[in-house]
């Protein structure tokens, strides 16, 4: 079993782990010849199934295992991975390999980074150190004034568990019926700001029991097939609503739907006119975590399954045109009234 790769895009990978780790601490990572998958299934809250083309984050990718398609399944803690990647922020290069240290499997991230050069060190210290008891120990400075590159090799070992194929066999992506409405979401930072504000207001005006977390009012999210999205929250004391209009309802690809496009629930909702809505109720705090995916800057299509679930497809910009698409899929259950 071998896995070794260079990280092509440290920044994207860091943002990806930041977004994922807000939803769960542990990810199931499946690496194979074709793509890289991250799956987060928290005990409660939103599931994420992310499938990335190898080229979008890695290059010089080598994988080898006895399993079909050279698949390696890992259980990977996200906070240490994120922390490790953050330390590669200024790196000139970074690579990852699967290895063993003291009998424990680790993903070893090796970062080559340039430390602060000594060039600007000369001024400012020990100008007149005559009464300095440490005098003799400090006099010996001779930093290079040239400030050449000072290279440091940083190795961050992230503990992992290598999973058997049998243990992950039973994990399946949720199956949801055809959505009633689909809409291209507006700017996520805008949506996040409004959602966070609404949740905060509702908590502040709630009946005091909100701090414990159980009785937080739910955000109501509604979409029609005529380019509108409504976000609202209501408590005993207030009722607020934000409406976006002029959004795009992407056309269905006839090849992707089981029956005729006209038979699709969304076509029916469209026919019912702009006053026909599909509704989901979601937890504001969980939604805030989901929206943190906005930092990756992808296009987001929200699919509404009325009173049942909200599915977000986040399409990331590809490294090159030809490659496979990178998509993050979020499954958010709707709360009943």
């Amino acid at each position: 079993m071998r896995f070794k790769t260079s990280v092509r895009n440290i920044n994207t990978f860091t943002k990806l782990t930041a977004s994922l780790s807000s939803l769960g601490k542990v990810a199931w990572v499946r690496l194979d010849d074709d793509n890289v998958r991250f799956t987060i299934i928290p005990e409660s809250g939103t599931q994420v199934w992310a499938s990335l083309s190898i080229d979008s984050i890695f290059e010089d990718y080598t994988i080898q295992s006895a399993i079909e398609n050279n698949t390696i399944n890992l259980e990977l803690p996200l906070p240490p991975l994120h922390r490790a990647l953050k330390s590669a922020f200024n790196a000139s290069s970074a690579s990852i390999r699967l290895t063993k240290k003291d009998g424990v499997p680790v993903l070893s991230l090796t970062i080559i980074t340039n430390t602060i050069s000594g060039g600007n060190n000369a001024n400012g210290f020990l100008n007149s150190a005559n009464d300095d008891p440490f005098e003799e120990t400090f006099r010996e400075e001779h930093l290079d004034a040239g400030g050449r590159d000072r290279e440091a090799v940083v190795t961050q070992d992230i503990p992992v568990r290598v999973l058997t194929p049998e243990s992950v066999e039973g994990i399946h992506e949720p199956r949801v019926r055809e959505p009633d409405a689909h809409v291209l979401l507006p700017s996520l930072i805008q949506l996040k700001a409004v959602s966070d504000r609404f949740t905060k207001l509702a908590m502040a005006t709630g009946n005091g029991a909100t701090k414990s977390g159980a009785a937080v009012p739910k955000l109501e999210l509604r979409a029609n097939m005529h380019g509108s999205l409504k976000l609202s929250i209501s408590t005993d004391a207030l009722n607020i609503e934000s409406v976006w209009t002029g959004l795009e309802n992407p056309e269905l690809d006839p090849g992707q739907v089981e029956n005729a496009v006209e038979e699709h629930p969304s076509s029916k909702l469209r026919a019912e006119g702009p006053d026909a809505w599909s509704t989901v109720r979601i937890d504001g705090r969980d939604w805030g975590k989901v929206l943190s995916v906005g930092r990756l800057g992808g296009r987001v299509i929200a699919c509404f399954v009325n009173e049942h679930a909200l599915i977000l497809y986040v399409y990331l910009a590809n490294y090159d045109e030809s490659g496979e698409e990178s998509v993050l899929t979020y499954y958010i259950s709707s709360f009943s009234l």
């Binding site: 977004s19 803690p77 300095d132 008891p133 400090f138 930093l143 503990p159």
Partner: protein, 445 residues
């Protein structure tokens, strides 16, 4: 007539605050020693494995510095103050002269009276627009006690820029306990790790194991034995480097062998910083044979104490001859070990100079918003590691002359007044004499 008075300009006040913050990471009280030409602030952690000391040079750090010993001219004044009380005086003060509430000057007067005058540490902060804030703190008289470091036997030395080390500590993730400094083949590595062994699912909770390897060429100066694992507490190292990294200076390390102390020192414009950290005996298969280590330990104890007076001149400059050299390692061996260390709290601040402020994407934490105002405080009990215990540092205390330092009024604890010198050595045995509530009361009077 005050025993000690000094004035600080806003810049020095800021630096004094930085030093106190650093000392606060080692102990909850700060010891102060005044001599005619300098003021020394120091702290020893509760497991006695780390000692931090800042020397403020009288005529360079202060705008005015006056020490008037009460009895003999060479006599020093020693006291101990609850660090949180001092920090709360300086905390949040704006040292920026542009601000409306900026501090213009800080005057400190220490009165140690007998009978008439109260013994108080009086801090006056003079702000703009004629605002004057006066704080009167109580203090406790203590014997002087400094950790001993033998420069003669410390044949391993290196020094490097504080900014480089500051950058290094950012790589260390939370949860690790030890830092291993190791040189081999022209490269030096800093490894932050934990000794806790986890199994099963727990393995994923193992903290990041971080190694930073750099070429010896990157050091300004490196003359140390190779293949020597020098292991210290990563938390102590972070506390020190966080302070050192505030200024652009040279951090110098000196040490002899594992299980013996390591000294880190640096200086900046009238402020000398010195730290003595106990290193852990090498459990990773050292180059030193076991027998050799054992014997070196024994050797290290006796000569250190025997030669204390000569060392005093080296490490604790110009202190008078001790009338008693109090604590020894052997006496404390039977004490129960301190509780296992807790993972230190990590700040991600400064980590990540981002153009587009990635943090705005983080989910909003709706629950704990009120905690931001708290002074962060380390209890200072968690310095020894679970697996290997750090030995204590060698200490050197100067007993207090029967009348001088032990001012009855200064000490809040009655019990403390009667304690003979020998019982003073382990600092943690003395009950805290000042509580925050008491100090607030004092502000009012």
């Amino acid at each position: 007539m005050p025993i000690l008075s000094f004035s600080l300009n806003p810049e020095s006040l800021g630096r004094l605050h930085d030093a106190l913050v650093c000392l606060g990471k080692f102990s909850e009280s700060v010891s102060i020693e005044a001599a005619h030409d300098k003021l020394i602030l120091y702290a020893l952690n509760s497991s006695k494995s780390a000692y931090a000391c800042f020397t403020l040079i009288g005529n360079r750090f202060f705008t005015k510095y006056q020490y008037s010993p009460q009895r003999r001219p060479k006599e020093k004044f020693n006291c101990k103050i609850y660090n949180k009380a001092l920090l709360s005086v300086f905390k949040g003060r704006s040292f920026d002269p542009e601000k409306e509430t900026a501090v213009e000057r800080c005057d400190v007067v220490v009165e140690d009276g007998e009978g008439k005058t109260k013994s108080r540490f009086i801090i006056k902060i003079i702000c703009r627009h004629g605002v004057l804030k006066t704080y009167r703190l109580t203090f406790e008289s203590i014997p002087s006690m400094h950790a001993v470091f033998s420069k003669e036997s410390a044949n391993n030395k290196w020094s490097t820029s504080s900014k480089t080390l500051r950058e290094f500590i950012e790589y260390f993730g939370p949860g690790t306990e030890q830092l291993d400094i190791y040189a081999e083949g022209g490269r030096v590595s800093f490894t932050s790790y934990t000794e806790k062994v986890m199994s099963g699912n727990e393995i994923l909770k193992q903290p990041l194991h971080t190694t930073i390897a750099i070429d010896i060429q990157e050091f300004a100066d490196f003359s140390a034995e190779e293949k020597l694992h020098l292991v210290i507490s990563v938390k102590d190292f972070k506390s020190i480097i966080t302070h050192a990294g505030l200024t652009n200076t040279m951090v110098k390390a000196m040490y002899s062998r594992p299980s013996n102390p390591l000294q880190l020192s640096y200086s900046d414009e009238g402020l000398l910083s010195e730290f003595i950290l106990m290193t852990i005996g090498d459990a990773r298969g050292s180059s030193a044979p076991k027998a050799g280590r054992a014997s070196s330990k024994i050797i290290s104890k006796q000569p250190l104490e025997a030669r204390s007076s000569s060392k005093r001149t080296a490490s604790v400059a110009e202190m008078g001859p001790p009338s008693a050299v109090a604590p020894s390692l052997s006496r404390k061996v039977s004490k129960p070990s301190p509780p296992p260390p807790q993972p230190s709290i990590q700040s991600n601040a400064l980590f990540f100079p981002e153009a587009d402020d990635d943090r705005r994407w983080d989910p909003v934490d709706h629950e704990d918003e009120d905690d931001g105002e708290m002074l962060l405080w380390d209890a200072g009990v968690n310095h020894a590691s679970s697996g290997q215990r750090l030995q204590r540092l060698e200490l050197q205390s100067q007993s207090v002359n029967s009348n001088s330092g032990m001012n009855v009024q200064a000490a809040r604890s009655n019990e403390y007044e009667e304690v003979p010198t020998q019982r003073l050595e382990p600092i943690e045995q003395v009950a805290p004499t000042q509580r925050l509530s008491e100090i607030r009361g004092i502000f009012d009077d």
